[in-house]
């Protein structure tokens, strides 16, 4: 991740992109902060208004740009600020996971969690757990696209991922 972390081969630090809904999980992350609950710095949260705004393309783009895992956080079922956005998120998530499996991306690299505004401790727990799981899996290596060679291609598989992005919508 950073140069200061020392030898990357011995200490793999996964990068995890998180999409948190404004009303529940992002608020919970704020609560974790206010409560000074320390957790792995590997998770970088992006605020969306609703987990239903998470376009599968965002997940693919995150993997393409070098994320080793993607976490999606929304309101508990029945609690969506927009009534049912989290249900849409769940449906898309299940379909996307099927597709990611076909691409050789392990289930543990993508996670959908319902975390309410009062569950700061859950943000801490989920971020730590996921960081450990992804760390155990090692860096994401997408299947190399046919025309690209070498180690570098594993981290920047532009053609295959580009193609993916086109295929997946809701």
């Amino acid at each position: 991740m950073s140069e200061t972390r020392g030898d990357a081969s011995t200490a793999f630090e996964p990068k995890i992109v998180a999409f948190f809904c404004n009303w529940c999980t992002y608020t919970a992350a704020d609560l974790a902060g206010i409560s000074r609950m320390q957790y792995a710095p590997n998770v970088r949260a992006i605020r969306l208004m609703c987990s239903g705004r998470v376009d599968p393309q965002f997940v693919l783009a995150a993997f393409r740009e070098g994320a080793d895992g993607v976490l999606i956080g929304g309101c508990h079922p029945g609690d969506c600020h927009y009534q049912e956005g989290n249900y849409n998120a769940r449906r898309r998530f299940e379909l996307l996971r099927l597709m990611l499996r076909d691409l050789g991306i392990e289930d543990e690299r993508i996670r959908l969690e319902w975390i309410s505004a009062s569950e700061g401790d859950r943000v801490q727990k989920v971020c730590n757990e996921m960081t450990e799981q992804v760390r155990a899996l090692g860096p994401l290596r997408l299947e190399t696209a046919p025309k690209v060679d070498g180690e570098g291609a594993a981290r920047t598989p532009e053609p295959s991922a580009e193609a993916l992005v086109g295929q997946v919508t809701s």
């Binding site: 208004m49 239903g52 994320a67 600020h81």
Partner: protein, 673 residues
């Protein structure tokens, strides 16, 4: 929340591409104690489009905001990134500063490096790297922000208050006195709430009825208040400033407009004696199928309970009640009716319930007749209660020794973790009153005495001087098994006295359980109805515990009283007044600024697949069958972005959350570090 200055920038021009100002906040040592702020500033200055990169001790202070405004006015920058606390904390502040500097308030993005970084990261270097990533994401994103103008929406002048306890009553009266029309909705047949059940209030020992009932009748008489009792809110639509609320009125089988509250019908009822549990008296007395909860009930209109009325059950009754009514107020054909009103703001004052003492069988509630809850004893003490104010045991005799057990259901890992805040004080009040009325010896069993509040500690002192015994220790149990001749025929309270370090057995005649304060059983349903949140324990969540204690995350919905957490009467009334003031500020301003994050559909790109139409939970998307195009009604759109994520052709986009902006943010958090 958006800037409310009413100031709009003159032109949408970005003056030749983005020039971004990055402002990194130290937040005293909250951020700077962990994050190397200088390194983040240095890093930010290397990012594309960044023209200025600065730091300041407190960006939210006036000089901090002035830094931003000055750079904007000097033309050094035209877009702003502030790396500081959470956007939920200060986004509005910095958007306002951006607008004051002459730019659209939406040419702004916040990077949360306090809540999401410095406060949650152990290692300083890691925190600094993460902070850089968050700043990079914000910089990449803000460069793509489009020109948007703040949207204004009118605020309706009428207000709804849900819940007619002291909180709802006080809030309604304040706003009605200010000339606003208030709809006060109460589900019971009378307003007054819990306070109406009390005899005296701590610490001044004011008579509760003497201070409450004038306010109740003021509500009834107020020309600006529409009082709906025996009614519930069943639907809420719209948004801040413009809610449509649907209210259901349950039938009481007596016309409110005709009943004068003479109570002749109750006298005339075929049941000569009360036969059914009287809910208002906590089941300590019996009522008839036709009743009024208490003499000062407001409105003073009787209610017929169809569950127990012979006419409703069998259809065979001489209907002596109807005969007795000179006003012909009876209407056994009544059914539920509905009203739909439009209001600008809503105050929720739905109150609390007390802990169910039956959940702690060790205290013998329900097993031993002379174990009472505090609320039951409030009714016994009340002159209008089942015993006319006499504290007597179930057999009618007067207790000689009374034990009050504090913290029943509160501060207990098995039940509720929280302190219910009112029990210490009301237990002292009950000790005083029971002693005064019966001359009994009174023992209070407490864990800690909590008496913060004006005059509260002094009240505690006074009770001690009156000779009430205080035993410090949690009570293990209540039993009727005597271990010695003097315990025979008594209830025995077993407790450790931690001050003398021994276990004591104290024989008493009456046990009073100081039950704690809990959320209403249907708090979760109410929360969903009004689209607000609850904490884990079930009380409604305020927008900010210190700075916005009566607001909620749903603009236009406010809180008052114990629905937000345990509170005594002074705090409840203060909070109700605060909620009323916030509503008045909003209504009198006449408009609210709305979030700009609505969805819109590009006509050119729309393929007419209608995927979005069915997904929108607010029916904000219309479809033009002739042109085969969908379009968003931005007034109705609440900005979730579900349709945007679903649109297969990329025609639907969300202001402030476009695909490109989010892609840029993803690249930002991953690209640089």
């Amino acid at each position: 929340m958006l800037p409310e200055t009413g100031f709009t920038p003159e032109t949408p021009s970005t003056n030749g591409g983005p020039r971004i100002g990055v402002y990194v906040c130290h937040c005293g040592l909250n951020i700077a104690g962990k994050v190397d702020v200088a390194a983040v500033v240095e890093f930010a200055s290397t990012l594309p489009n960044v023209a200025v990169s600065r730091d300041y001790k407190f960006m939210c202070s006036d000089p901090g905001q002035e830094l931003i405004e000055q750079d904007l006015r000097d033309g050094l920058v035209n877009r702003v990134v502030v790396a500081s606390c959470s956007p939920l904390m200060h986004e509005a502040t910095f958007r306002r500063a951006t607008q004051e500097g002459g730019q659209s308030p939406f040419y702004f993005q916040m990077a949360s490096i306090r809540e999401l970084v410095s406060w949650v990261t152990l290692d300083g270097d890691e925190a600094t790297e993460k902070a850089k990533a968050m700043v990079a994401a914000a910089v990449r994103r803000v460069a793509l922000h489009e020109y948007l103008e703040p949207r204004k929406s009118e605020v309706r002048g009428d207000i709804m208050v849900v819940g007619g306890g002291i909180a709802g009553i006080h809030a309604a009266l304040v706003m009605a006195d200010a000339g606003k029309h208030v709809y006060l909705v109460e589900r019971e047949s009378t307003i007054g709430g819990h306070m109406a059940k009390f005899d005296k209030t701590f610490p001044t020992l004011d008579c509760a009825a003497c201070i409450l009932t004038p306010k109740m009748s003021a509500v009834r008489m107020h020309p600006n208040i529409t009082l709906w009792t025996y009614s519930d809110v069943v639907g809420v639509e719209g948004f801040t400033g413009d809610f449509t609320v649907r209210v259901r009125h349950r039938p009481r089988y007596v016309r409110e407009d005709l009943c004068t509250g003479c109570l002749e019908c109750i006298e005339a009822c075929i049941h000569k004696q009360g036969k059914f549990e009287d809910e208002f008296n906590e089941g300590l007395s019996k009522r008839k199928p036709i009743y009024i909860p208490f003499p000062q009930a407001t409105p003073a209109v009787v209610v017929v309970d169809p569950e127990t009325c012979i006419w409703f059950k069998t259809g065979k009754c001489p209907q002596t009640c109807i005969e007795a009514c000179e006003r012909d107020a009876f209407d056994f054909e009544q059914t539920e009716t509905f009203d739909e009103v439009k209001v600008g703001a809503i105050i929720l004052a739905t109150g609390f319930k007390t802990f169910d003492a039956g959940k702690m069988p060790e205290y013998g509630y329900g097993l031993y007749p002379n174990v009472y809850t505090s609320l039951e004893v409030e009714r016994l003490l009340n002159a209008a209660g089942p015993t006319g104010g006499e504290v007597v045991l179930r057999d009618g005799s007067s207790p000689k020794v009374v034990g009050i057990i504090h913290c029943v259901g509160s501060r207990d890992a098995k039940h509720n973790l929280w302190c219910s805040k009112v029990c210490c004080m009301y237990s002292l009040k009950l000790a005083h009153m029971v002693k005064e009325r019966t001359g009994a010896e009174v023992y209070n069993f407490y864990i800690d005495m909590r008496t913060p509040g004006k005059g509260y500690e002094e009240f505690y002192d006074k009770i001690l001087k009156e000779g009430v015994h205080m035993v410090r220790g949690r009570v293990a149990g209540v039993t009727d098994e005597a271990a010695s001749p003097e315990e025979e025929g008594h209830l025995v309270i077993r407790a450790e006295d931690t001050l003398i370090g021994s276990v004591r057995r104290i024989p008493v005649d009456m046990v009073i359980l100081a039950v704690g304060v809990e959320p209403q059983p249907d708090a979760q349903d109410v929360r969903r109805l009004f689209n607000i949140s609850c904490g884990g324990e079930g009380f409604f969540t305020e927008r900010h515990p210190k700075l916005a204690p009566v607001s909620t995350f749903t603009d236009g919905v406010f809180l008052a009283g114990a629905c937000q957490g345990p509170k005594d009467i002074p705090d409840t009334v203060a909070q109700a007044g605060a909620a009323a003031a916030e509503v008045l500020a909003m209504v009198d301003r006449g408009f609210v600024m709305l979030e700009a994050n609505t969805a819109h559909i590009d006509d050119e790109l729309c393929s007419g697949c209608k995927t979005c139409v069915g997904l929108c939970p607010f029916s904000a998307i219309a479809f033009d069958e002739e042109r085969k195009k969908a379009s968003v009604n931005e007034v109705v759109c609440k900005g979730c972005g579900v349709c945007v994520a679903a649109c297969p052709s990329g025609a639907a986009q969300q202001h402030l959350f476009t695909d490109e902006e989010i892609f840029a943010e993803i690249e930002g958090v991953l690209a640089y570090v």
